[in-house]
Amino acid sequence: MKPKNNNSKGGDSNNETSWLERNVNVVIAGLVIACIGSLIAQFWWAPLFAEKQVEASHVEASHDEGSHDETSHDEHMHDEASHLHPAEFAIEEVFGFEAMFGFVAFVAVVFLGTGLRLIIMRDEDYYDS
């Protein structure tokens, strides 16, 4: 939600500038820090996930030995564990996959749009003339 302000040159000389306009770089710096933070968070989360998996396999193991009364409870636990499973696909486990994907997809969409202009852009009053 931060990177909403960028590149503003402060408007006309007789117009006051807002805090955001004077501090574009602060906003960008905040964004960069948040980006780095999201990468670091993946480091922090990876071992956490491993623990959960151990827990889940433990639950599964106890489920095999458990009595019938516990079955439903165990299944529920197993369900919970499978929902905690973060990655449906192996590629999700790659460090920074989503980060790279977000960046590349964004740039690709913008470039595709720019290319599309060559084909479909007409004058503003195209349909009126």
Binding site: M1, K9, E88, A99, G102, A105, F106
Partner: protein, 574 residues
Amino acid sequence: MIHNFPPGLIMVLGALLLPFLGQRLSAWGALVLSSLSLVAFWTSPEFHAVTLNLFGQDLNIVRIDRWSWIFGLVFHLAAITASIYALHVKDTKQHVAGMIYAGSAIAACCAGDLITLFVCWELTAVSSVFLIWANGTETAYRSGMRYLIIQVTSGVLLLSGAIIHYQQTGSLVFENFLGLEPGQRGAIGDLEFGPLLILIAFGIKGAFPLLHNWLQDSYPNGTATGTVFLSAFTTKLAIYSLARGFAGLEELIWIGCAMTLFPIVFAVIENDLRRVLAYSLNNQLGFMVVGIGIGTELALNGTAAHAFCHIIYKSLLFMSMGAVLHRVGTTKATELGGLHKSMPFTTVFCMIGGGAIAGFPLLSGFVSKSMILSAAGHEQMFAVWIILLIASAGVMEHSGIKIPFFAFFAHDSGKRVKEAPWNMLTAMAIASFCCIAIGVYYQPLYDMLPFETHYEPYTAAHVIMQFQLLLFAALAFVFLMKANLYPAEIRSTNLDTDWVYRRLLPRLIAHLGKLIQLIDSLFRLACLAMIKRFLNWLAKSCGARGWLGSTWSTSSMAFWAAVLLGVFLILYYL
């Protein structure tokens, strides 16, 4: 007693009384009507059905189950916020149209049979067009006309499909046409002709690729307040109908994927920010259509949840742009910028809406979109999952960044206007509150979904990955702006499929006319020439010197008379 009537009927009938309240009070009347309707809906027995016998045919005019409940509820919420948003409008016609439109959409999603659905379907089309025409411009009039023709066509297809379906099966009940249970999937080849027509009817209203352009054509031409109404009902009614009738239809997965992708590219280069929102709406519908196609309980829950959240944040975004239109008089990006100084509240509300649609954790889009992505993951549909990820980055581009950035920040346009009126701010505040409330406290929403769920959106992995995707997408924006690679906003018209019926067909018809004219004139020339030759021949042969006109000798006449008599004699003996 009241529960024996279709929900929304209060709004439809009440709307007819609004003109008697006068210009000033009719807006409040609309708000009272939609609130009353919500109370009636909320207090109705939880899941019930009402059957009406009409012309010997049992019509299931009310059927409220979990699907109808969630859509009916969010339609009511949308109608109430839109009514608050329109409180300053002193045009009774718009309030009447808005109420009939919202009421018939609510009745449609509580209809148990295809005929009731058809009646409500057409009523939404006919009433909503007045919200476009109310703009009063020639462009709006023409655009509204195209909208009406396309919407009514959809209704006619629905009716034809329903009749054929009835002839084949003897049933008008509106249920899954493939007879699929959640989790099962079928192909389009299994559909009979009747349901196929119904699918096309739903597809038109749901803005399927190539059938989509009425959406981007008409919504930006509605009034500031009218478009808020428009954005909520028509397309989501189609989503509801698709989920009810075609859940598990495999082709919908790919149709939905195409729907999520192509609008994001168009949105990048569109100058009119309300049209950007229309493309964005189209893209969001794609997510829901994918969910319907996957057809598992998780996917269908995701579709219902996403429709619920989407109606609220999309209304919010259209409200913020409507406020800009109301104050500045335009929503063209080339003429906006720097409005955060004069419209700070609207800016904040717009950013909340943008964050919700992009799917930032703690906002509503995150808890609903995740379900559809997870459903694709659970079914091991890798390509679908990747496409939805690309689409998510695309949503971040056009709605998360482009809309707020170019309207409220970017280059200062020097425009200094008043903040939006109090009623607009109130409506936006309510919608913003809902976006945050659902994002944080999602359990009530999950409890309303069509199927029971234990889905947990806030897993560490999910949250971190979503942050990575969105933050780095935002970083890409900063990078492109700094490198001057981001396409500048240009005043322009971008062609879309509407070009086919606004330019190509008229031209073809004009050319066809010319061709017919040419053939016609050639034919006439040929006939004239033949007549002329005949006349010449007549003149030549019957004229004073022609062989027929000249005087012949008596002897030759006597000779030919003798020959004739001779021939007659021979024939007589034969």
